[in-house]
């Protein structure tokens, strides 16, 4: 847990997925909750995302998927996070994720999945309680 230091979150879309309404709403709500949020926007490949996490020294990385690419990109991101020793970054996923994929994502190393329809109270509290730095 942090000692009163502002929590820093990176929210990003991955690949070509253009559905960014949810990601942008999450960014606004996290900011209102007092967190520092860097939104990487659309069209990021794995290496862009990892670079941003390193550069920003983020506490949390949030991946937004609405085009069914969660099982394709997440393992690549997890692999790169491990390679870059980013084990203390809390990795969360949001979007249109089938319940069947949640255990698969958790097994890969995602700490928590927030499906569409999640309320901000849930993910704000989760982040505050679970950041690792």
């Amino acid at each position: 847990m942090k000692n009163n230091k502002q929590i820093k979150v990176i929210i990003t879309k991955v690949g070509l997925d253009g559905h960014d309404r949810g990601a942008k709403i999450v960014v606004s709500l996290l900011k209102e909750a007092g967190m520092e949020v860097v939104y990487l926007g659309m069209f990021n490949q794995v290496e862009d995302i990892i670079q941003a996490v390193v550069d920003e020294d983020a506490d949390v990385l949030g991946l937004s998927y609405l085009s069914g690419e969660q099982l394709i990109f997440t393992p690549k991101i997890v692999k790169e996070m491990k390679k870059n020793e980013l084990n203390d970054v809390l990795l969360i996923v949001g979007g249109t994720i089938p319940v069947e994929d949640i255990p698969l994502l958790e097994e890969m190393g995602v700490e928590r999945v927030f499906r569409a329809g999640s309320l901000s109270g849930e993910f704000i509290e989760y982040i505050e309680k679970n950041i690792k730095k």
């Binding site: 997925d17 253009g18 069209f43």
Partner: protein, 568 residues
């Protein structure tokens, strides 16, 4: 003994308390009296709210009579049912073809295919960015062979086909469809269908790098002009109010923004020398139906009346069908949630009802798994069955505009019309819709509204069952299974595209590509030369990229690959 008795007493007490808790809803009242878009309502509406005698002829009139508030046809569904047109796009062209055929066999009456994100961006399947994405959200069509596979054995002169794609790759899509039809010997003037050619809105679907405004408008209007001259049965644009609405805006904004965009196209077509009576009859819209039944019906009625007035008074239309607001409906995807997913079937059914009560021409019902994955075969079928129950069992098709004359619906129609006018005046004040988009005025509006909608749910002002009321534990599995796109499907498509590129006759290709480039440089309509280039096996990315370069943009929207053509 006494111990047992005591326990029993406690049990009884608990039970008593629970029942009170369970049934406290007995006296409950609705939590809000506003429409979904936030308009106030009265408890009851009376003749004071709508004077039939005074206003009927002028503001409402019979279906089929100006200003068409009650419907564009006098007999509405008695003349023809709406088209049951479920969107299909999954995996390879062959996979998509198979699903299309399946739905047609189950009673679907219109074909409807959606491009995947690579195709919408104008990227060929062998583009480096396409590797993990081909076929995930729709179908990738890179070359003529793909379009042949998609349309295989389908009589293109008999069916009505809706091509959902983005700008500016829509021009390639249209070229591919026409090239295949001509190759199979069809007279293209007989082709029936539509292309979702709404070039100005695609920046809001995540395609900004692929859709520079000036180029999108130019290529989009090339389609509109070409179809007006050569394909009289083809709807060359469906202005996509739906996509805008899904960003979180209100019913009022949906119509106002959509009209603002539509007018940009009309102005351009008029500038190109066409008369509104020539192209007006094939102008169409894609409308959202969200969950507030009466508001959606009133919105559609207001849109119909306003559009007729614009076309007649502002643009000088004289033909009745140039004044018609024709529209397809997509039930609201963003209103559906993965929590208690079967509830979505109910939501979709209500939304479909509002579309039909509003006099829809063509309908796509979302499958219940919209917020989970692409539709499975079963969920797709269920969405089609939702339409069929509505069409064949409920009696809603008997009477045109059955809500017409309702004091509430007429009053709400008037109110929404007035509100739409206010938003349109706001758009005028920033210089019209093209400017509103160019300056990102619209981006800010959409973002602000999206956040407001979420907060309405967060603070309980809007209730969504399973989300902020009547919540339950997460379900263990998706009821009808999960649709996956096999990675082999995408890889096969990528390999096929590479093979096609290797096999083609480069000299023939160069002749057509040079012609396309020359036409683009000369500012001519690019569709005829794209049709010829498609026949010479030019690809989506190559055709769009070549025109991009002429307009001063990088050949590749992702700025990774360069043009393979050397024109000088």
């Amino acid at each position: 003994m006494s111990q047992i008795k005591e326990i029993k007493t406690d049990d009884a007490k608990t039970e008593e308390k629970d029942w009170e808790e369970y049934l406290k809803g007995y006296y409950e009242k609705p939590n809000s009296f506003k429409t979904w878009s936030g308009l106030d309502t009265n408890g009851i509406y009376t003749p004071k709210d709508f004077d039939q005698e005074k206003h009927y002829q002028e503001k409402v009139n019979d279906a089929g009579q100006y200003p068409y508030t009650r419907g564009i046809h006098a007999n509405m569904f008695r003349g023809r049912l709406w088209t049951k047109r479920e969107v299909v796009g999954i995996g390879s062209p062959a996979d998509t073809h198979a699903r299309l055929k399946y739905l047609a066999e189950q009673g679907g009456t219109g074909l409807n295919t959606i491009a995947d994100v690579t195709y919408e961006m104008g990227l060929d399947a062998d583009h480096p960015w396409a590797l993990n994405e081909v076929g995930l959200t729709g179908v990738n069509i890179t070359n003529i062979k793909d379009m042949e596979t998609l349309t295989k054995d389908i009589p293109l002169d008999k069916v009505s086909w809706s091509l959902i794609t983005a700008a500016p790759s829509a021009t390639a899509t249209m070229a591919q469809y026409i090239a295949v039809a001509q190759g199979a010997g069809y007279d293209i003037s007989k082709l029936r269908g539509s292309v979702q050619n709404d070039p100005l809105h695609f920046g809001y679907c995540g395609f900004k790098p692929a859709s520079p405004l000036d180029l999108s408008l130019k290529l989009g209007c090339d389609i509109m002009e070409y179809c007006t001259m050569n394909m009289p049965k083809w709807y060359y644009t469906t202005v996509n109010m739906y996509d805008l609405r899904e960003q979180g805006i209100t019913a009022v904004q949906e119509v106002a923004y959509g009209f603002g965009i539509a007018m940009c196209y009309i102005d351009e077509l008029v500038r190109r020398g066409l008369h509104v009576d020539q192209f007006g009859p094939r102008f169409s819209f894609y409308v959202a139906c969200h969950i507030d039944i009466f508001e959606e019906v009133a919105k559609i009625r207001a849109a119909r009346r306003m559009w007729a007035k614009f076309m007649k008074e502002k643009y000088g239309a004289t033909k009745p069908n140039a004044m018609h607001f024709r529209f397809a409906v997509h039930t609201s995807g963003c209103s559906l949630v993965p929590q208690q997913p079967l509830n979505n079937l109910i939501r979709v059914a209500y939304q479909a009802l509002s579309a039909v009560l509003g006099g829809v021409q063509s309908l796509h019902c979302c499958s219940y798994d919209e917020p989970i994955c692409l539709p499975t075969e079963s969920s797709h079928l269920q969405a089609l069955r939702t339409q069929q129950v509505l069409a064949y069992e409920t009696g809603v098709t008997n009477v045109a505009d059955p809500l017409g004359g309702s004091y509430y619906v007429e009053s709400l129609t008037d109110k929404i019309e007035k509100k739409i006018e206010e938003v349109m005046a706001e758009i005028d004040s920033v210089g019209g819709m093209y400017e509103a988009i160019r300056t990102e005025w619209l981006d800010r509006k959409l973002e602000d509204e999206a956040l407001l909608r979420q907060k309405e749910i967060e603070n309980g002002e809007k209730l969504v069952v399973g989300v902020n009321i009547f919540k339950s534990a997460m379900e263990k599995k998706t009821p009808l299974g999960v649709q996956r796109v096999a990675s082999e499907s995408g890889l096969q498509q990528i390999n096929d595209v590479k093979e096609q590129k290797r096999l083609r006759n480069w000299d023939k290709l160069m002749i057509t590509m040079r012609k396309l480039r020359d036409d683009a440089v000369a500012g001519k309509n690019t569709l005829p030369s794209m049709i010829e280039a498609t026949k010479a096996n030019a690809t989506t990315g190559e055709m769009v990229g070549t025109v991009r370069e002429v307009h001063g943009y990088h050949y590749d929207p992702m700025e990774m690959i360069n043009s393979p053509f050397h024109f000088s």
